[in-house]
């Protein structure tokens, strides 16, 4: 059933893996053997797109862990939830949301409506609990009732002032007598209008009273130094229907509908984490198809899509402007891209349509190493923890690799459409702030001064096990008529992973396909994220001396670092053998852009020698050639 109602989902988190339920069940086992490992597992299991039943299930396991003897999370907090209506259904979302950020939360929820007595009576359960944070939440019906005696708008304004002043007293006692930080939830705007568009002119209007109160809460919270939980803003963005269910309200006095409880809990957890200094500090962007459309190495500085003139160009520009807004607020910007650095910086320096300039990016890493290694380098250069990084990349392969290798880094599941990425980053609450200080705004400058342009040494990440889990299949065939357009396009577009950079038109390709003693091969890569399409082409021919000459070898950079070239050579060697060849010959012809394959032949086991002008000639003896071991399965595709 694909239909989902419009409940707010944690859509920036990846889908639950198939073994999720089994892993949660395993966590609930008694006794807890290795507490630290179990807690790490609970944190990992919280980082998926959880529905409310799944949130409740994981919460039971989390509570089980936290009640175990020797429970010792590195970060924790004691939260008292004081409310005018039911909150028991929200506790799981808060605990799981905090676990997602590595924080263990213990909660205290007196029966609803009890908060005044609890705050005044030093013998109450609240004082015994000794909270570090008090969260106040008042439902709209309760708040709106304060407007009922208003005769004039002046009355309504005065009553709103009085109501907010009564809250200030609650905040003060929580802070001064309990020594707790205070979070005040803004009032959920769900009261129906009874006057229409100009409802605000009705003195007794509940809906108008709630907007008066919410407006005052913003000023009062700043003055009192407490934090808001801006439920009103969130509800306006997501739509009331997803957050408020009359059935839950009338049936159980639950103002936040059950399906919204994971989102509510995640919002609370962000404020808690921000207060503990656990908000991310740096946003790391991929370049190709993330900050602009297209591939800079192939399309060139004027070929990439950015700026006015098209919807996509505007959308990429909008994302760049959002990044600049983050930077103005004190978030450090970094780049992590598989590219030659000289090519990758070009748009920043030479393309006027770009909003981002080179100096806006504090740490710029473009090379051909795997991204987890580069992200570690970025964190080290900026001298911040990995958990202070957020990584934005359009490629699901790279996202999953980073999550697997460096689970501390938050990698949002950004939508394919660049127009939706700013909203995703904002909904995900990546860069939650509680107070903005001059330091925040100065921070980017300081980091820029500290960041050194180091030479990046290679640091290995356990790629093999990750690649193995991708279930990659390389499907190859001799192309048919229907493939010619794509094969030709790839031949002419690929500048970087291209041994000879020979350009051919469709009739050239057709001629090569028809030639005796020649071979045109196309390769398609399929993995568990889907079909990457035709990503590589090899063209070659047999010369008189039973030697197979590789005339063209090119591959899309999208699948770099996945052992595809080794698997391709395995295919190529068997095709060449079948054609009667005993040797493979290859040649690398350098261009400005294809430095990445300068050592390809040597890496794959060819005996190479350098000719003039950087040209490399390589030969591979097919009789002694051992197939490359890769994690890719090879299949021959029929036409």
């Amino acid at each position: 059933m694909g239909v989902r109602s419009n409940s707010p989902e944690l859509y920036w988190l990846p889908q639950q893996p198939p073994d999720w339920r089994r892993r949660v069940t395993a966590l609930s086992a008694d006794p807890v053997k290795d507490w630290n490992a179990s807690w790490a597992e609970a944190v990992a299991l919280a980082k998926f797109r959880l529905s409310f039943p799944s949130t409740n299930a994981l919460d039971l396991a989390v509570q089980h862990l936290l009640s175990a003897p020797l429970a010792r999370a590195t970060a924790s907090c004691r939260l008292a939830f004081l409310s005018s209506s039911t909150t028991t259904h929200l506790a799981a979302g808060i605990r799981v949301g905090a676990s997602r950020r590595g924080i263990a939360v213990e909660m205290y929820e007196p029966s609803y409506g009890q908060y005044r007595q609890d705050l005044t009576d030093t013998q109450s359960g609240l004082y015994a609990f000794a909270p570090t944070i008090v969260l106040f939440a008042f439902d709209a019906v309760f708040v709106a009732a304060h407007a009922l005696e208003a005769k004039t708008i002046a009355d309504a304004n005065r009553l709103a002032d009085e109501f907010v002043n009564s809250l200030r007293k609650l905040w003060a006692s929580a802070r001064d007598r309990l020594g707790a930080l205070v979070i005040q939830q803004t009032i959920m705007p769900h009261m129906p209008n009874y006057g229409g568009n100009n409802e605000h002119r009705l003195p007794t209007s509940g809906a108008a009273f709630i907007s008066r109160v919410n407006q005052r809460l913003r000023e009062a919270s700043d003055e009192a130094g407490i934090d808001l939980l801006s439920l009103d803003t969130r509800v306006v963005q997501d739509g009331l229907e997803g957050w408020f269910s009359p059935v839950s309200w009338f049936g159980a006095k639950q103002e936040v509908a059950l399906p919204a409880s994971p989102a509510y809990g995640d919002m609370v957890a962000r404020v808690i984490a921000a207060r503990q200094g656990r908000s991310a500090k740096c946003c790391v962007f991929d370049l190709d198809n993330t900050l602009w459309g297209g591939v800079i190495g192939d399309d060139g500085v004027n070929g990439i899509v950015i700026g006015a003139g098209s919807a996509a160009g505007e959308a990429f520009l909008n994302l760049q402007n959002y990044a600049l807004d983050l930077r103005r607020r004190g978030v450090i910007l970094a780049v992590c891209s598989k590219n030659d650095e000289a090519i990758a910086v070009e748009p920043f320096d030479n393309r006027a349509d770009m909003a981002l300039r080179r100096q806006d990016v504090t740490c710029f890493v473009a090379n051909w190493q795997d991204k987890p290694s580069n992200l570690q380098i970025i964190a080290r250069q900026l001298n911040i923890g990995l958990d202070a990084l957020v990584f934005v990349d359009d490629n699901p392969f790279e996202r999953e690799l980073v999550r697997k290798s460096l689970p501390e880094i938050f990698v949002p599941e950004v939508p394919d459409d660049p127009a939706l990425i700013p909203r995703c980053l904002s909904d995900a609450g990546c860069f939650e702030m509680v107070a903005i200080t001059d330091d925040d705004i100065r921070r980017t400058a300081t980091y820029a001064e500290n960041a050194l342009r180091a030479s990046f040494q290679h640091e290995a990440v356990d790629l093999d096990s990750y690649l193995f889990g991708l279930n990659m299949v390389l499907r190859w065939r001799r192309p048919g008529e229907q493939d010619i357009a794509r094969v030709t396009q790839l031949i002419n577009k690929t500048n970087q992973f291209n041994l000879t950079t020979r350009r051919l038109n469709e009739s050239d390709v057709r001629a090569a396909m028809a030639a005796p003693h020649a071979a045109v091969l196309q390769f398609r890569l399929v993995d568990r994220f889907g079909d990457n399409g035709v990503i590589a082409v090899v063209i070659g021919h047999i010369a008189d001396n039973a030697e197979f000459m590789i005339d063209d070898w090119l591959m899309s950079c999208r699948v770099l670092g996945r052992q595809v070239e080794g698997a391709m050579l395995n295919v190529l060697s068997s095709v060449a053998r079948e054609m009667g060849a005993t040797r493979l010959n290859g040649v690398y012809r350098p261009t400005k852009k294809n430095g990445i394959v300068a050592d390809l032949l040597a890496r794959l086991g060819f005996v190479t020698e350098e000719a003039s002008n950087g040209v490399v000639i390589g030969a591979l003896d097919l009789e002694s050639f051992d197939e490359h071991r890769t994690t890719i399965n090879i299949e021959k595709e029929s036409l």
């Binding site: 109602s5 028991t88 059935v247 509908a257 059950l258």
Partner: protein, 81 residues
Amino acid sequence: MIDKTKIYDVLRDVFAEVFMRDDIPLSASLSAKDVAGWDSIKQVEIIMETEQRFGVRFASQEVDNFRNVGDLVATVMRRVG
């Protein structure tokens, strides 16, 4: 007209998610007394998750009348049609 077996397929998934078990034998007469842990909170979870899966919203009267799985299936059939 939505197929009754399809509804049961979806509900089996709902129950598995709510109770974290996939061995609950769903039948029209199955009710709270038959399943350990089926309390009023689980009852609301089942209803809400069913609403989510079928993209419908049940009315207060309907929710008050859910006594067993059969009632739930009948209401979904009426709503999804």
